[in-house]
Symmetry: C2
């Protein structure tokens, strides 16, 4: 790359824009945004293939800003590159409902491929995108004609200090995702001071230890070297590449090299001086036509040409591969209609663990959908996530469907988020419910991005037994049920499990968590898919009832066992199964009143977990709010007071 005056002007313009944005909003993070501007510019000008007029083109290069706090730079870049981010949008940085919120929000701003903010997860999302790309290419006939792009990701020190980064770079190295290019901005500063206060990793060696291709760019201002590095990275055939870019935070400002410019506006004085230092002496929010023209002639023209060529090639491919074309369309639309009826063929066992029933759904139905990718964090045999006979996704088997994510729950979730952001697959990830703690924020990031992620979370209560308190979930159900956009299904039997899978597969915008038992649960004769679709419903009607038992999962069977014990004492009992509180809450008032139709004081919720969230539905809550015990399941359940006898006694005491 020969550096011309227009390149310097463009970089200076973008830097000035982001300084103005942050100053105007009096909020934002100029430091790193300024030092990575040249790299971002070179990437957009010379490499990134995307078409602002078709921002959701499935074969565009993906770009993930893992250091989401530097988004003022991304918005400036999108603006000069022709995306629907106007000058007014830039002036409304971080203002209510603007197209330029404080961290990137996918689906809200054209050109933003992933939401970001919580550090490290962007790398995982990028790994997922690269994985989806490679899997689509390998899964369709002449796949490279329809899917063949790079995934770029930009991160800083924070992303690499977070442990999640190690999980996903290790996975990406093993998987040899050669079209994944990570640009690491080593600006030797974090919010609290010099990075050396908290990290002295030999980052190149760290990446080499997980088999990445490493390219060092000693000077982040050297656009030719950056360009060479990206050219070189794109040539990698068997490893992802990290480009280590050495920069100075707040480049060109009076605060260069100082952590003070990380998270605070520069202010007018320092900002103006910096702009002058960049050779930019225009009024605020100025972009000259030649800068727009430069981006249009390079980034814009390249993307438009590539998009047009793709449309043509895709039409030919569709014609040559009509069946595959239909599958691909279904895959990107998440259209499961052609496959979902098969779920009705799953056996409704009279007494089985819901994890096993879920396993049957995986092996009989998920296996029949040609566009799924899923697995578990090394608990496939326990959570029953495996499609039998599948070789496992790997560098030589990129059309395989089972994924061994390793003992990396957080990594698994962020990678699946990336796959869904990319599009083309339904994903699922299995773990023990208690370890939802390890990837809680990735569940949140799925939910905040409206990704229809599916998590299979088994071993759902103290009935885990021998593994003891560290493995027995107590508060996890409450944590998931209170996370917006998450639907927590805790099915009580085979029928509800199959129905939950159906809902999860059909889902377009909510996270689905299927909470599965380790132990066998009896089939309830009145359970129903229609009931699950209402969130909660009556499974044992009693028009004369004066007590309403509300339960989920294994406690529905418990409620059935408790009923005669209460009847012995003269109570008349009705039982409600509540597999999904969030869906129940969305029903209309009359439906809700038809299910919970006794006064609150006559309602009793039963769950072998923390009970706090059940008071929404009942005055009386029979729950277990402490840590569990290590013992065989039946002994553990008895020890914590969840036998039918003990629960009945507690209910009688409550109702007194």
């Amino acid at each position: 790359m020969e550096i011309k005056p227009i390149d310097r002007l463009s970089v200076a313009t973008i830097r000035s824009l982001l300084i103005d944005m942050i100053n105007k909003s009096n909020s934002g993070h100029p430091g790193m945004a300024l030092d990575i501007t040249p790299a971002m510019y070179v990437l957009f000008k010379n490499h990134l293939v995307a078409d602002p007029k078709n921002p959701n083109w499935i074969n565009r290069d993906r770009f993930v800003l893992s250091s989401g706090h530097t988004c003022a730079l991304l918005y400036s870049m999108l603006h000069v590159s022709g995306y629907k981010v106007t000058m007014d949008d830039l002036k409304n940085f971080r203002q209510l409902h603007s197209k330029t919120p404080g961290h990137p929000e996918v689906g809200w701003t054209d050109g933003v491929d992933a939401s970001a903010g919580p550090l490290g997860q962007g790398i995982g999302q990028a790994v997922g995108m690269a994985m989806a790309e490679s899997a689509i290419e390998a899964s369709y006939p002449n796949g490279s004609e329809i899917m063949n792009h790079y995934t770029y990701c930009l991160c800083g020190d924070g992303c690499l200090e977070e442990g999640i980064s190690q999980e996903v770079i290790s996975f990406a190295g093993l998987q040899k995702f050669n079209k994944l290019i990570l640009i690491y901005d080593e600006n030797v500063s974090t919010l609290d001071g010099p990075t050396s206060n908290s990290m002295n990793d030999d980052v190149a060696m760290r990446f080499k230890s997980v088999h990445w291709n490493v390219i060092d760019v000693p000077n982040g201002e050297d656009m030719a070297a950056i360009d060479d590095a990206i050219v070189e990275a794109k040539k990698s055939v068997d490893a992802p590449t990290v480009i280590i870019l050495h920069t100075k935070i707040g480049y060109g400002t009076a605060l260069e090299g100082k952590n003070k410019c990380h998270g605070s506006p520069l202010g007018k004085e320092i900002g103006d001086a910096a702009k002058a230092n960049y050779g930019f002496n225009e009024p605020e929010f100025t972009v000259s036509q030649e800068v727009y023209d430069n981006m249009a002639a390079n980034f814009g023209a390249r993307g438009a040409k590539a998009y047009a060529a793709y449309v043509e090639a895709k039409a030919a491919w569709d014609k040559a591969n009509p069946e595959a074309a239909e599958t691909l369309a279904n895959a990107f639309a998440r259209n499961v209609a052609p496959y979902i009826a098969k779920l009705d063929e799953v056996a409704l066992d009279a007494n089985n663990a819901t994890r096993n029933v879920s396993g049957n759904c995986v092996s009989k139905v998920v296996a029949s959908i040609p566009f799924t990718l899923g697995g578990s964090a090394d608990v496939a045999a326990s959570v029953k996530t495996e499609i039998k006979g599948d070789p496992g996704f790997g560098p030589a088997t990129r059309n395989a469907r089972n994924v061994n994510y390793g003992i990396r729950e957080f990594g698994m979730a962020t990678i699946n988020n990336g796959i869904l952001l990319h599009g083309g697959f339904i994903t699922y990830g299995g773990s023990f419910l208690v370890f939802a703690d390890y990837f809680k924020n990735a569940i949140r990031m799925a939910a905040i991005q409206n990704l229809p992620e599916i998590f299979l979370l088994s071993h759902d209560s103290v009935a885990v037994g021998e593994d003891g308190p560290t493995h027995e979930p107590i508060e996890q159900l409450a944590a998931l049920r209170t996370t917006p956009n998450v639907r927590v299904y805790r099915p009580c039997d085979s029928r509800e499990t199959v129905a939950s899978w159906k809902c999860a597969l059909e889902e377009k915008s909510h996270v689905s968590c299927l909470i599965l038992s380790r132990q066998n649960l009896p089939l309830n004769e009145n359970s129903s898919e229609a009931g699950v679709r209402c969130g909660g419903y009556t499974v044992l009607e009693n028009k004369d009832a004066n007590v309403e038992l509300i339960a989920a999962g294994s406690e529905v069977g418990l409620a059935v066992a408790v009923k005669p014990l209460l009847e012995e004492k003269g109570y008349k009992v009705k039982i409600v199964s509540m597999p999904c509180c969030e869906i129940f809450d969305e029903q209309d008032a009359s439906y809700k009143a038809s299910v919970l139709n006794l006064p609150r004081a006559q309602r009793v919720a039963i769950e072998m977990a923390h009970g706090a969230t059940w008071y929404k539905y009942a005055d009386h809550v029979i729950s277990y709010d402490k840590y569990g015990v290590s013992a065989p399941a039946s002994k553990a359940i008895e020890a914590i007071g969840f036998t039918a006898d003990k629960v009945a006694a507690r209910i009688l005491d409550e109702l007194k």
Copy 2:
């Protein structure tokens, strides 16, 4: 080390014991336990300095079994080494209330220095122990006379695949904890299959990249090589050491090298064959006297001698350093009585952010306690965790008090857990509330181990403002409040903040989470420390009230602002501040009824977060159960309906 028949017999005995334990309980994890037995034996026989008769001796070597699922080995080892783990205890492996639960539980079984189970965290806890050791040694006169021990940790593939491992090994490398020795069992198998399915890290290079000393032991059966490796590791002067031990899972059994033996009992047939293969042909649960004698003559005698020498040296040190001796005693007893009164000197600002008030508590009171270690995950300036003038803990400043944990929330929490397990310090760790998600399971592990951890969690609501939804907590309060043994304090003003700090410092067995505001909050004229100590209390009494408003944190001030608007409509209003629901729940019924004394239907809880947990106290909950928005705080609050006007309108609507 010259290998003698007794060494082989001891190893065979221990292996046979653990096979018997797992077979008898029909539950457990024999695979890795068997392959690391020689290493565990060499460590205990020749190196570990501890006295079974004084298992809580503060200067003992620490041993953390990060791969907690292999605890059958640890219990066998403790048994033959003279700890209070009887043969009956071994026979009751994983049974209710036995001394040998399914994963190690600290405080329950002598010789268990840390609870374990959730993978990776054991390494973090060991790092914390090594840190505490080095900090005590550096902080007291002639500190090495009272504190001078090693910390050993044993882990497997799972621990290293988890990202948390990277956070803490990076920190330990930077900090040069040379007395930390990690034994990594590379048995090339995980639960789901060969490790190569999910990980091909060059582990030696990975550790070198974070400046560890690496020693490779090619054959895990070679006890002489293991001994040499530990001898060598103990000589390290400026780096922690990892010993990479190459083994075969399920060594010596018919399932050697197969993942099938990871988590399932071997059964009698395979077990008996394995025992014969080890040259051990005794009945089940047999330990010959010579094995006990061997351990007593080596491990036992070494520990007893060291303990006796320590008692003598410590007495002399106490005499020479009476003031330091008192401080040390207070430190290990967590006796804050001599310091706590200073909290009353913290200014009660009429209008200040509670994060700032907390910062004042840190700089004025925490700074005066000579045995604290704390800091933040790179948000010191935002969460106000810094003691001014402190140089920051580092290899050359091990008597410093501020810790830069880096952008490693999970690492921070596990390290602090390790420091508390070790004893000698009060710890605190700061982050944004929303990122409690990143270390939720470490909060749980603190709580499950009854560690009086203090977490400072600021930016506690949508009032975060410009950073937007990824940075705005919604469900985190519910997640923390439902975690057993955790006390969540959400103070409404300066006075409640100081009181919360007081409670947290005095705490002996619960985790304290102080939830702090970014924005200013007004001082409530009736707020009180006594009230905080009851969890909830009336801050605005009204004997004629027909509406009870219940709130916490910033919403107490909001309730005060809402009151006149309700009064305009004829309501008579009382206000309850509920800074800590968990403490309130523990009060006696009469106190609770005196605070919440109207019928549920006349109670309204207000919180700018998910409301699910508030229905325990009120029929009406004014909450915000969706994701937030990016905008300046006042605009964001208005957008989500939390101005006094809008809240009043919602309440009037609810009460209709």
